[in-house]
Symmetry: C2
Subunit: 166 residues, 2 copies
Amino acid sequence: MRVLGIDPGSRHTGYGVVAADGQRLIAVAHGCIQPPPDRSFAQRLAHIHEKVAAVIDEAAPDEMAVEDVFLARNVKSALRLGEARGAAILAGVRMGLSVHQYSALQVKQAVVGYGRAGKDQVTQMIRTLLALRTSLNTHAADALAVAVCHINTRTSQRRWKSLESR
Amino acid sequence: MRVLGIDPGSRHTGYGVVAADGQRLIAVAHGCIQPPPDRSFAQRLAHIHEKVAAVIDEAAPDEMAVEDVFLARNVKSALRLGEARGAAILAGVRMGLSVHQYSALQVKQAVVGYGRAGKDQVTQMIRTLLALRTSLNTHAADALAVAVCHINTRTSQRRWKSLESR
């Protein structure tokens, strides 16, 4: 199974595709989408949408996972974040992916095993889990973390199902 | 010129297409998009996106105007509103429309001539301006108001240009 994780933001949208191969987790693709600041706000949204669609086209994930946000500096930044989030999610749903949401707490719990873990701890753990040797953008790390969180959830669900059907 | 006005919202997205024919303003289309509540949040966003795209396809507006929001009950509702707004805007920009933003103050000023006008006053004035006899959804009225506001702005800009070129 392949999962596209998204860490949405109007200036930086992190993405990461993780493949689960038995027990092994592989980072298929990851990066950070940065809409050109000289474009109009509508064109920046279209940029996020198109880039996420291009990642889906290339890396062919089966499902999409996005961090659900409950915190923002203020209403204005929450609106901008929502727009970026909507643009990314829409790329997934338009391309036939099911979209799943996880809180930051759930993601940290799944990746670090501790819900209050710091950003550095998440990045470090993702580097270790996915055996990444090159430098890793923090937004890409967060996106990979959401993807890993969703894969964990799916794996647990499958395990429960197989126990039930015994 | 034809303008599509949008009053975005996760549960109700108002739309209204206004055509300017000389001094006359005509309501070409208007209504309210209500995503089915039993669908997933991602599918509800896709619903808004597709319905706005269908309106553009049918009513063929030249430009799009959206109310810019600065107020929301809380961060959570601002995020949901931003997502709906992003889904609607993306339909416009993907179909080649330029997208323009106006504050509620600007819209009320343009339609009622008074920035602190109430919702009822806006609806009443839109009904009069566009000679609408049937009942009018408040979200559709707000959407038509943004469209009228944008047409006013464009008309003023043209007037200034023609004065300058004399």
